[in-house]
Symmetry: C2
Subunit: 191 residues, 2 copies
Amino acid sequence: MDELIEYIEKSLPLSEEMKRDLVKISKVKHLEKGEIVLSEKSHRKIQVFVVSGCLRSFYKSEKGKEHTLQFAIKNWWISDYITLFSNANSIMCIESLSYSKVILFEEKELDKIYKQYPTLAMVQRVGLQNRIAALQKRILGLLTLSAKEKYQRFLDEYEFFEKVIPNYQIASFLGITPESLSRVRKEIALS
Amino acid sequence: MDELIEYIEKSLPLSEEMKRDLVKISKVKHLEKGEIVLSEKSHRKIQVFVVSGCLRSFYKSEKGKEHTLQFAIKNWWISDYITLFSNANSIMCIESLSYSKVILFEEKELDKIYKQYPTLAMVQRVGLQNRIAALQKRILGLLTLSAKEKYQRFLDEYEFFEKVIPNYQIASFLGITPESLSRVRKEIALS
């Protein structure tokens, strides 16, 4: 839990009381490679803070094809944001791609903490705003970038985890076919 | 300005003081078709609430191609969310696609109001969360839907404005070519 406290304290010094209340609602978990943290159709509303390792959220189509929405590495949050703030059951799965250490929070408990500590809510607000900027950037990338540019941006962000993440997941995250991904990799290797 | 107050009051009853402070920082504008509210490379940080009409935000690539990130109709907010919360200049343009009535806010002023009235900040937080859900849904749509499904989802959301929005803008919003859009429309007309 120290890792999260340290991370939050980059933006906001926490009182002992705040730290205690945060620890009280958190659950540290060690995940094996392939372990599922959230299943689709679950009624659970959780947010996951990644301490180490790599997780991904994905959507499985009716035909069984997996579409990767997000990867998350150290100091990132991951959740099924489409249903997190609603009453609907989850539509995404979250799985661990490596041995990972995470901190789990129930959304309901986090919400209470934000109401109790408005300064913490402010930090969360900045987090939400940053997420919006990142998501818009991702949409713009999907609309405007070539397969090669998408892959290069992916490398910039997730460099260390390229070896951990299977090719078909990278391709599905970029919205390109695995064949395009191979082609782009060859192009980059030759350039 | 009454329209925004009415809209906010669906979530939160506003005191006379809150209303007065909101009005003080707002600027009602009537826009002509084609009028630009925010230009690219602007240092302005504004959020636009749409009272009536239709606006869009778009990014112009180096080659001059326009990529539509968002349309906004009655009761929606629109802004360049990629740069709004940062120090960077805007990278998007926002233009009016019809005769529109909007309410403009400087982000700095809104921020002050949220600090002054924590209950209003709560309403904004829910707004941010809904935006995150909508953006994730859009990404999932871009990754998983066929051209036909994308267009049908667009019709569900923006039905009344289909006539106002030029074809190339709809296509660029959906991430498909104008030719695909024509094909899909014919398919739907024939089915």
